[in-house]
Amino acid sequence: MMHIDVSSVLRQTLSCELYSNLVTRPTGAAVRTQIEALLADTRERSLTVIDFSHVGMIDYSCADEVVAKLLLRYAAEERDDREAYFLFRGVTEDHWDAIEAVLERHTLALVLESADGASAHIGGIVNDREREAWNKVYEMGRTAPADLASATGSPTADCARTLATLHRRRLLMRLDGDYVAVGGLADARV
């Protein structure tokens, strides 16, 4: 699992220790480019923690460049060459205003680690069925479509479709036909 401290990337990008705020579109684009350069060294399947813990604030333009475009390139596009998953850490209420707005704009979703690091949840745009399915998988661990069908009382085919959608959106990982929630991967091999 790779860990990227966004604040460190920001400081390297701006070559300046004074700024801890993710503001302006050019700054966001530069930070994302740096993150992408780090991701270039990862394996075909990777889980990366994007850590906002030391970021003061993020504005809409920067959230669009750093978060939305990262997700659009790695999680929303069908990519054969790369299966990249992201877990967002240290996202506070202050950061969330801007991040939520850009997720809505692009109909994206992501997995957020709770403040104490003990749990995770999805944020952004998902429908009720997807949210329920993700929560179940997170709760149950490694889950097959039939397991989800038993747990929710929904037809297996429907569950399989929902799980496939969540996998395509890189909110769930697929492991030999089963699914594991991003953020609930303590024992899963990535």
Binding site: D59, Y60, S61, A101, V102
Partner: protein
């Protein structure tokens, strides 16, 4: 022949229109004197817009400072004269700025490039928290949104103006409309391209039948349209509108011959003004009022 423009005694976003109306008959290359001798008060919008006026002139204009010592001294403390002397030949008594001004959250600051926005946001954060929570009774959490708003309106210059502009942030007591409530005001003015010209530069843009400054402002401010094809663009002003709505504030944007405003219940401004006297660039004002008990829910 030299034309003389008289600055009104009280200069804000409304009375600045008197300045623009006088300017309408003066060619940009004509000799001009901007006479502020009898001006007693100016909002950050008024001061930054006067700088934009100087920026718009093809021939360096003259500027006569306020005669009232208190006013001139205050303008000096806001940083106005420091920037005005780069644009105008200054006349009258121009005091040197001594010490900071407590009501000035952010001195008038030039915004040209992305790094300037970092600087502005960094400088305002700590002071904004103190002012918003202690003077305006606004939740300390609103500080981040305030800095985001400031960042986005400043970026408008960097991304769209094609030349630099200025930002100023100040608190003052609004006696007329808000019964002595405090407000914090962000003003960002430039004499650059303006919204219509910026949107016209969008590749492959198809013009609609109704296309003027007012239509351009509606597209950019209300519908979040940007000159860039990137679907993520245009979120900045939408975010500003959201923040302003949450804190019962007001945002107005003037560009070219039109002005659009998101008007809260405490204000009686017109949402869209068209066919104003022309003025180049964009002039943005964000006003956040003091929160009072029983105010509208967030």
């Amino acid at each position: 022949m030299t034309s003389v423009i008289t600055v009104p005694p009280s200069l804000d976003d409304h009375s600045f229109e008197q300045v623009v109306e006088q300017l309408a008959t003066v060619p940009p290359d004509a000799k001009l004197v901007v006479d502020a001798r009898h001006t007693r008060w100016a909002s950050p919008y008024g001061l930054t817009a006067l700088l934009a006026l100087g920026q718009a002139r093809e021939v360096r204009a003259s500027f006569t400072a306020p005669e009232t010592e208190e006013t001139a001294s205050y303008w000096a403390r806001t940083g106005f004269f420091r920037h005005a002397e780069e644009l105008y030949d200054l006349h009258g008594s121009v005091p040197k700025a001594r010490g900071g001004e407590s009501s000035v959250l952010l001195e008038i600051t030039p915004v040209v490039k992305s790094e300037d926005v970092h600087e502005v946001v960094g400088r305002i954060q700590q002071k904004a928290q103190q002012i918003l929570s202690k003077e305006l009774n606004i939740d300390a959490k609103a500080t981040v949104g305030f800095a985001m708003t400031l960042s986005e309106v400043c970026q408008n210059i960097v991304e769209h103006a094609g030349r630099g502009g200025w930002v100023g942030v100040q608190t003052y007591t609004w006696r007329r409309r808000l019964a002595n409530r405090r407000v914090v005001v962000i003003a960002v003015c430039d004499a650059g391209l303006g919204f219509r010209q910026s949107l016209e530069s969008a590749p492959g843009r198809v013009r609609s039948d109704r296309w003027d400054d007012a239509a351009a402002l509606e597209e950019a401010v209300i519908r979040g349209v940007s000159r860039f094809r990137d679907p993520g663009r245009g979120q900045g002003l939408a975010g500003v509108r959201r923040y302003v709505g949450r804190w019962d504030g007001k945002v107005s944007v003037r560009s070219g011959t039109a002005k659009i405003a998101i008007v809260p219940s405490w204000d009686d401004d017109v949402p869209l003004l068209e066919k104003l006297a022309p003025f180049p660039g964009s002039q943005v004002q964000v006003t956040i009022p003091e929160r009072v008990a029983g105010g509208p829910p967030r």
